[in-house]
Amino acid sequence: MHKASVLERTLRGIALTLVIFFFMFPIFWIFLMSFQTNETILRVPPSMIFEPTLTNYRSLISGTLEGSTATLEIRFMSNLYNSLFLSVTSVTVGLLLGVPAAYAFAKLKFRGSEDIAFTLLSFRFAPPLLVLLPLTIYFQKIGLADTYLGLIWVYQLIVLPLILWIVRGYFEDIPSDIEYAHRIAGHGFWSTFTKIALPLAGPGIAAAGLLAFIFAWNNFIFALVLASADKQPVTVGALAFITASGINYGQIAAGIMLSIAPTFALALYAQRYLVEGLSLGAVKG
């Protein structure tokens, strides 16, 4: 390889430091803020030296917010719970619907299969409001408005194309001969699907599930349009929270940290599959 000169290495080092600083600083700063009281946050100039406190997290978890004027009930924990419930159930439903379909698209080419697969893919790129706005009116009529069921259904819009296209790739990678061998050995179609195809595509299914969870968790617009306060996930809840609490910035920061922690953890855990998932299977990491 090319031997880098001292100057070049220095420049690279500086560039990389700036990059890391730009992308990491906000997370770091909000993290610090979440352990501060309003007093230390409002200091000018801002400083990294303070006495850390857990009161922000404590009051978020206990559900009572001590504002400057009065004590408020806050639903942050219920928002967090909504996020968890919506994401887990959406992904579960998405896997139940998407994995068999992915198998059909990958292994049993049938008339219209490509058209359906591409239509589903194109949903991934259509403006979500285009579907959401008419849906609010329909949901009012059929009673799905402001229900978990309605939300879970709409969440399939992001979850299903992702699962379908990632898992399909993993099914395509299974040599047909292996499945044939299992059939010829005397096992039926379903046995071959569950004992051969599913285990061999297992890592892909897990990765797709984790990524779909991250996308569902991070979604904002679906719940903003379709959910009222008691069904809202953290993404929407946090926005309401900032208006409600007004000036208790430490708690907002703590709320943000709690809201992004799960996706960070999952991303670290599933990092090997992130590239593939983010590009819907077009690029392998």
């Binding site: 040599p175 047909s176 001969d177 292996i178 044939y180 061998a181 299992h182 059939r183 010829i184 050995a185 005397g186 096992h187 039926g188 179609f189 046995s191 051969i196 285990p199 061999l200």
Partner: protein, 370 residues
């Protein structure tokens, strides 16, 4: 279980892979399906196994039409060229797969796998996953899995293709006995003519999706249906010389280096027809110049080949000829020499089509006259 295929056709998009294939394999016999890659052998096996459906034609096992019968219900065992082992299961579970499908008891499965593993010498690796197995062990595991269910029809798709030469040599000796012991009807696919000759009760030569010849190994070797088959069977390869039959005083003959090689009288109808003369290297032998009818030539080089010694020579006309003789017998190493042709082993092919000319029988010749 006898196996019969009638006029099987299969195309993928515009690509015709099988173009009217018909075959019969009697119960307990082994048919070798021999042909170059891309001839349609593997597709044919898959059709028999039922994992793909033919566009037209009938597959019958034990006289029963298999159309619409699922692969798992056909009572077939199959070994794949690429082994197709289940990568997430141990060798034991791979081999046990047909037995679990038959819902056999745990102990029956255990003993069934053990006895096969002992037979194929893979007992010590039964706990390993396929990726921990050597190629030879994979191949034996795949074979064991194909045999485990005691199938009455056994399909072996070039099982020795992807193993090293030493193992192939061993298995060539072991496999025929193993197959015979199964009492199964076997279709064995190979591209190796020696395997074909060694394993087959019959050989079906397939090319471009058509069966070109079916016969016993001797028939295929001694009377190949065309020059392609003649070239594919035999090592060293058959000598093919362009000739034109002529009529002489004692009957039809062809001239090789100005020496007449007599043809059977049945070739009287082929005078002046452009032909190819096929001479197996072992039909040619060295002779002293005094022997009548010898052909002069120049020996270029010689090489040992298995139990034979092969000599490459050039005739006076510059045509290359290969002769073979049993190893250890004397023969010239280089320089001028003479050879004689065993005319009774000569084969005559049509030059335009490459088909073997069987020669019109006397009866037909008389018919023509009358």
């Amino acid at each position: 279980m006898s196996l019969s295929l009638t006029d099987i056709r299969k195309s993928f998009k515009d690509d015709t892979v099988l173009d009217g294939v018909s075959l019969e394999v009697p119960t307990g016999k082994t048919l070798v399906l021999f042909g170059p890659s891309g001839a349609g052998k593997t597709v044919l096996l898959r059709l028999i196994a039922g994992v793909i459906e033919p566009d037209a034609g009938v597959v019958e096992i034990a006289g029963r039409n298999m159309s619409g019968v699922e692969p798992e219900d056909r009572g077939i065992g199959m070994a794949f060229q690429n082994f197709a082992l289940f990568p997430h299961m141990s060798a034991l579970d791979n081999i046990a797969s047909p037995l679990t499908a038959q819902k056999q008891s745990k102990s029956a499965i255990q003993s069934g796998v053990q006895s096969l593993a002992r037979l194929l010498k893979i007992e010590h690796v039964l706990g390993h996953k396929p990726k921990e197995l050597s190629n030879g062990q994979k191949q034996r595991t795949a074979l064991a899995r194909a045999l485990a269910g005691k199938p009455e029809v056994l399909l072996l798709d070039d099982p020795l293709r992807n193993v090293d030469a030493k193992l192939r040599f061993e298995m060539r000796l072991e496999l025929p006995r193993l197959i015979k012991d199964q009492n199964a009807t076997v279709i064995y696919v190979t591209q190796d003519y020696k395997e074909a000759m060694a394993f087959g009760d019959e050989i079906a030569v397939i090319n471009d999706g058509r069966i070109q010849q079916i016969g016993t190994p001797e028939q295929v070797y001694l009377t190949p249906a065309n020059t392609d088959i003649a070239r594919l069977f035999g090592d060293p390869v058959i000598n093919l010389l362009e000739v034109t039959p002529q009529m002489g005083a004692s009957g039809p003959f062809v001239a090789v280096s100005d020496q007449p090689v007599p043809l059977p009288a049945s070739h009287s109808g082929d005078i002046d027809r452009p032909c190819i003369l096929g001479l197996r290297p072992e039909a040619l032998s060295f002779a002293s110049p005094e022997t009548p009818g010898t052909i002069p030539m120049t020996v270029e080089t010689e090489a040992p080949l298995n139990e034979k010694t092969v000599t490459l020579a050039v005739t006076a006309r510059g045509r290359e000829i290969m002769l073979s003789r049993p190893a250890g017998t004397p023969g010239p190493r280089s320089g001028p020499a003479h050879m004689v042709i065993n005319a009774s082993a000569a084969l005559l092919f049509d030059r335009a089509t490459g088909e073997l000319i069987q020669g019109t029988t006397d009866a037909q010749a008389q018919g023509k006259v009358a």
